[in-house]
Symmetry: C2
Subunit: 885 residues, 2 copies
């Protein structure tokens, strides 16, 4: 016996079920489930995804037995309806629709009225006693079939229709008479013949076969294929094909069609929400000729139908236990349901619906937590541009830091600071930002750069500040001297208003209306549940007591990355830093370091105090030294004076620090190895801060982290330096401090030799930004010129700097975890790259057994939610107690 | 019973053997073996390396039973000699020496005359009837014991000796009388007491114990430890300690001491070679007071001893089947052998000795091949500075390309070319070189750069040319405008002579005498044998027909890396290349590419023809485009004219191609993905060349290589482009060509996902230069500032750009081989990084199962020899037939 390829549904019975989405697609499964629930659904059948896959495997031929099954099921439908497909008296008409597991653009749309031909048309007219209705249905069918099944340009038909309307002097299709439409049908058939060199098919089964093949064929249509590639959906799934009895919403005043949500998809409010049109087909709604009205009005127009619809939606929601999106048609006072699926919703609606449904006991808390899309939470944490606002987009960059910002354009960081002091709202526009710009970035509402990627300086710093940023906007060309930037022919001057959308990357001219984020009680409620179900700890990347405070507010369980170099950029300090760098002797460096020690110590006191006994991972100096160097002649002159070193010498030293590939240069622990006195000073500052706080009975857990280790001996030597200083300091203060010394794993070699390194590390923190750069051999600052086209051309599914590359970078992280723990079984390991705040990456981190992720404070809720979902998915609902990290 | 820690030797019997170097050290094993052979060796015993290791394990305490064994074996020695250790009448004196498996600097030296004290001294005087001899022996012993065993500064004793000589008005030690020396001994004992706060030990067994402990202790002395770290010798080996009866070469005219080689270590000539001194101890030879004379003269002076010595050396050489280095002492007409070991030799001596010994049937061919140090072969392939020449070294850089060169200093490539046309010999001195300099590099005798590492542009290109280069010489400071460079206070002007030693990195002022390399018949003979025993193929990195010819001369079996971009730098082409890069449209690029196509085709015809049917791996364009851009304003102006594009626009485009980290930027196949037309042109040029030659009945095997693949989809898309062009071209020419398409594995991600990539690659070529850079996160061009100090501080054992980092980079290569072959079992894989010409790396390549290595032509012999040795070592002598690659 042949495999079952066709599943019938009709009259409260269905071969399929709601959980058979893999086989029947989302639409087919929904139709089967509704039928089983006794909800009125026009009978029909679904041809399975397996049939589709077999079709391609056989070189676009139906698998054996499929067509026979189609014919058999069609007979059942005929019986159910008391009509016959292609019958010259009482013809059954059907719709044909694709329906895959995931809905996706580019798949074949709907063909309505299939089964019509010159003969059945007459029967339809006789039966409905409505010639106009009959010819209208026929001309629509010819158009859809020719266009959707056969690929003829729709405009060929539209133009003919327009010509007819002009000839008749009417404005609307509905003004055309039955005779007009009859004539149109003739013209349409001629167009069909001209375009396809054959007659419009009159055999309904031939029509059906062609339509089914077209549905299958659309699975490998260009757009669908690209969409799947980009969204990581397997090409092996295949699509199902739904063939269903036609019902008509356009048969008069007691007919109609509509779509609705069981709750409000924008707000989550528990109120039936939707719209409908009387005497119309779905097509007409889309065409936008008539404006649909709220579904509540149906109560007055067709009260019986409305009551029935309300009962049905309630039944469905209760059955599916989720907010649903439904489609219905009323034919001469009889209600039919045509589709049901889980409805899309905004973040705040998702939160409200989840919390409400828990209250209503429809779902439990775990389900509620799993219902919310972590990536969507961003909407709640940042201002957004009012979706109703009309905006003039002038350019698009990378969505580097989410949210929206409005302000006047300013081109230098200093001016941004001055403006901020006057309470002016500005947008800082730079070719690229450097650490010198941090003050200005902080002062600005948002940042726009012409160069740099998702993890460029501007992007990283902005995300850390929770500030909107559009980066790498190559279309803008900045002339700092003239204080303008240009986009094509448009010139934007200093002081002009622009608006940034950091969530999409859009740059908008003028002052768009922003909506402020509101964190509701629902958010807090869901976050409480999230905490109950997480195993992975969520820490923050924070460099200042202020950042630490924000992080605590979002429920961080520690700081996973405190970058000490960010403390070096303050104006009062940068001079000492420069003196240190430009000294040619160890004495000179030590003198400068002595000035820095109390300042760094103050920083650490601030952060450790704020974190009240939670662990704080402090990374020792990491970036190449030339990042700190004077960039302008003035700075150089000033420095020359204060250091008493001739300008020439300073300039030469400056030049000698130039590197071809600073990312791969003299940085990280390489600085510590060549200038141990720098790490010594930092270790002393940390330990003195820790000791002083301990003496004041404030609990502290400093975790000192050595960056960019590639060889175990680097860590070994640096650990010796730090350990010596720590012991000296503890002895000096006569106290006890729980400190640990660990390392970043951010180079492939460190991951590969993680078992060799482990004996000298108390913890590992994966720096996945740099690890991605080195594993891919890809500079984050330079990738902007070609990475977008990589994603476009389908070479990469995702930007590896946004979501962790599981097969490459992820494999190295996994290897390092295994190797490290083969030596130290319970070694604490976390991740502190940008990926720590991205949902899919967080889930991956959970799966491979990390103890924590660390991300910028504003991404903590996202990370926490993703962590909880990963744990729930893994545990299959079991409650795992939260680990302490 | 306690473990055996002490091994006796004496009177033709020995507990040990010659192959017990692990346990007895090299010296101890040699003494035991000579004793067994019946060769006269003063009796003694060796304390094992196991005892040394146990000593450290127990916290510097002798292992149980060791001391008892020492006492027992001492009794055997006493019996053998008929003397007693510490006996007041007939005292036995001994020497104490360390002796590890490998000889190494920093280990404890020799202590002679141990057993002397105030009492035994008298006995020695009485016995020899020579007071002067006695006191001389005593004062030497006190000095050595205090200095070597107790660590007292030797100068304390030397100064006292000098004072005595001054007081007595004599010039030489030998002029001091017995009474003088007696007084000196008193003074020495006082110094000892003052420095060490205790008396000079009078108990001979106490002296012995202290000396043994000092030998053991020296194993972890700073210098020895560092030496082992740097040379990759395990710290677990431990040292043995040899205690041996003293014999005296300074007991008159029938006494003496000497060292000799069984053959000439410089030339390999089969002639006894060495020198000796009558009436002297080893110390005196070292002190350089008297000049030793050739060993042949001993025949006249002490004919009986000489004859005996000749017999012994012949016996030893026959026994060891190798050229040996021996030490002997003659005491009053009796010959004693004190040491034998395999003798060090020059490369040409090594070849001659190996070939001669095969002829003499002393060894077989396989042994001959294994006897030659591959790294040493470099000596034979390049000129060297005459070792006898006195040179003034002014600076030291990296030994970037071996050999030596003399010439006058010149600072620009253009001037170097002009000078070469006038037959002037010049050294090109540049801060760093760029592809623009290639003509000048070719014209110069040698290249000196101030910046860049072992794989910087200058280093790579120079090695490819077989030209001497010293790179990254940070001590020199170049002023191109003034046409000078300075080193400290020294100024070297254009036109001044300098000499470079590319093998050591030395920069020498003036014109040093060079020795030209000579490749003898022995070299050819050994190379023939090498070919019989290799499994790994050796290919060349060659970009021109000339390079290809050189490579064939050295026996390359193909070209493993032909860099197409090197063809772009010729003056006639660079303009077209620049037009291509600076075009903003695909049409503009295609126009420029059309100009390049016939030129590239010509290149490929030349190389493929030269290689006569051997495989040629051609890498498509790899470096970032801005490497080709105009560097000077003149160039830019000229280009602006010829392209008809305003200078401003060109300058802007130029600037827009700037990259922060070009190494990680828009290069390799990323260029091919964004500008497929470039790879298309190159593929067409290769295939047209291949087709035309095939039509002329010339066999060709082009292997087209896609560089810098990180994700399988990059290769997939590029393969499609190349395959399409190849098929089109083959169809056009109506012929057949055996071509393959493969990829470089030079990014960690490619190695990690080598199983995913394999289906789209016919071969893998490991680009270990770039793989090292990315795995370590280390830019070869920037590492010069800190990598040397890494090796110095013992963090890295070797520069990973010189010898492959087996634990990191090597592990990735291994992983990629396994993953690739898990998909394609017999996939051809090779290496084309600089490591392909370095002996240890080549051996590693053999071990992990690569099919071939590819290196610059002048390193082919080294690679071939290393490959044969690796194979012989693995096969344990079995003859493995050579694989075809």
């Amino acid at each position: 016996m042949a495999k079952k390829y066709v599943y019938f549904f009709g009259n409260k019975k269905a071969d399929g079920k709601g959980d058979m989405k893999d086989l029947l697609g989302g639409k087919g499964a929904g139709l089967a489930e509704m039928t089983r629930l006794g909800i009125p659904v026009p009978p029909g059948f679904t041809i399975t995804t397996e049939a589709c896959n077999a079709f391609f495997k056989a070189g676009k031929k139906h698998p054996a037995g499929m067509w026979k099954q189609v014919e058999n099921e069609m007979k059942k439908v005929e019986k159910e309806m008391g009509m016959k497909f292609g019958d010259p008296k009482n013809p059954l008409l059907v719709s044909v629709r694709s329906g895959a597991k995931f809905s996706m653009p580019g798949m074949m749309d709907t063909v309505l009225n299939l089964g019509l031909n010159d003969v059945t048309l007459e029967a339809l007219i006789n039966k409905t006693n409505n010639k106009r209705f009959g010819y209208d249905a026929y001309r629509r069918f010819i158009t859809m079939f020719a266009n959707i099944v056969m690929g003829v340009d729709r405009m060929k038909f539209e133009n003919t229709l327009e010509a007819m309307k002009e000839e008749k002097g009417v404005a609307n299709d509905t003004d055309l008479t039955a005779e007009d439409l009859e004539k149109l049908c003739d013209q349409y058939k001629k167009i069909y013949k001209k375009e396809l060199k054959k007659d419009f098919p009159q055999n309904p089964y031939e029509q059906l076969k062609m339509a089914i093949n077209a549905v299958f064929g659309s699975w490998f249509g260009e757009r669908a294929y690209k969409y799947r590639t980009l969204n990581g959906i397997s090409h092996d799934l295949g699509t199902a094909c739904n063939v269903q009895t036609m019902v008509f919403g356009n048969m008069g005043k007691t007919s109609g069609t509509g779509v609705a949500f069981t709750r409000n998809p924008s707000t989550g409010e528990k109120k039936f929400f939707g719209e409908f049109l009387l005497n119309a087909q779905g097509e007409d709604v889309v065409a936008g000729i008539r404006t649909p009205v709220p579904v509540s009005r149906l109560q007055k127009k067709l009260p019986k139908c409305y009551d029935q619809l309300v009962k049905i939606y309630k039944k469905l929601e209760k059955h599916y236990r989720d907010m649903l999106d439904i489609e219905f048609t009323i034919q001469e006072g009889t209600l039919y349901m045509l589709q049901t699926r889980v409805g899309k919703r905004t973040a705040s609606a998702a939160l409200k619906i989840a919390v409400d449904m828990v209250k209503e006991k429809l779902i439990d808390k775990k389900t509620a937590v799993q219902r919310i899309d972590p990536a969507q939470l961003d909407q709640l944490l940042h201002p957004t541009i009012d979706p109703k606002a009309k905006v003039e987009k002038i350019a698009k960059g990378l969505p580097a830091s989410p949210g929206a910002a409005v302000g006047t354009v300013i081109f230098t960081a200093d001016e941004a600071e001055t403006a901020a002091e006057k309470n002016e709202k500005v947008i800082l526009v730079r070719t690229e930002t450097s650490p010198d710009d941090i003050g200005g970035m902080y002062a600005a509402q948002g940042i726009l750069t012409a160069r740099g990627g998702m993890t460029s300086h501007a992007a990283v710093v902005a995300r850390g500040m929770g500030k909107c940023c559009v980066a790498g906007c190559g279309a803008i060309s900045i002339d700092e001297e003239k204080k303008i930037f240009t986009v094509g022919d448009l010139t934007v001057k200093e002081g002009d208003y622009i608006t940034l959308n950091g969530t999409t990357g859009d740059v908008v001219l003028g002052e768009a209306k922003l909506i402020k984020p509101k964190l509701t009680g629902n958010f807090d409620q869901v976050m409480t549940w999230v905490d109950q179900y997480s195993k992975l700890g969520v820490r923050a990347n924070a460099d200042t007591p202020h950042d630490a405070k924000v992080a605590l507010g979002f429920g961080a369980v520690g700081i996973g990355l405190c970058r000490t170099e960010h403390m070096f950029f303050e104006e009062s300090r940068i001079k000492a830093v420069r003196e240190m760098i430009l000294s040619n002797s160890i004495e000179g460096r030590q003198k400068a370091l002595k000035k820095l020690l109390p300042m760094q110590k103050g920083d650490f006191i601030g952060i450790l105090k704020e974190m009240k006994g939670l662990p704080v991972t402090i990374r020792l100096l990491d970036p190449p030294l030339h990042e700190f160097l004077p960039h302008t002649d003035e700075d150089l002159k000033a420095l020359s004076k204060s250091m008493g070193v001739p300008e020439d010498k300073l300039r030469a030293k400056n030049a000698s620090l130039h590197e071809f590939n600073p990312m791969l240069g003299h940085r990280g622990c390489r600085l510590g190895v060549t200038y141990p006195e720098i790490y010594e000073m930092q270790a002393r500052a940390i330990m003195e801060a820790a000791c002083e706080l301990t003496k004041k009975k404030i609990k502290v857990i400093p975790e000192i982290m050595i960056p960019l280790v590639g060889h175990v001996n680097e860590l070994k030597q640096m650990r010796e330096v730090v350990e010596r200083v720590a012991k000296e300091t503890i002895a000096k203060y006569k106290t006890k401090v729980n400190y640990t010394i660990g390392t970043m794993i951010e180079l492939p070699r460190a991951a590969i030799t993680a078992d060799e390194i482990a004996p000298f590390a108390d913890f590992y923190s994966f720096g996945t930004n740099d690890l991605t750069q080195t594993t891919y051999g890809l500079s984050r600052d330079d990738a902007g010129t070609f990475l977008p086209s990589y994603v476009e051309k389908g070479i990469l599914e995702d930007d590896p700097f946004v979501t962790i590359d599981q097969k490459g970078v992820g494999a190295l992280v996994k290897m390092a975890i295994e190797k490290g723990r083969s030596v130290k079984k319970r070694m604490k390991m976390g991740i502190c790259g940008e990926h720590g705040g991205e949902a899919r990456s967080v889930m991956f981190c959970h799966q491979i057994g990390l103890n924590y992720v660390s991300c910028s404070p504003y991404r903590i809720p996202i990370a926490k939610l993703a962590a909880a979902q990963a744990n729930l998915a893994e545990a299959g609902g079991r409650d795992l107690s939260k680990s302490t990290v």
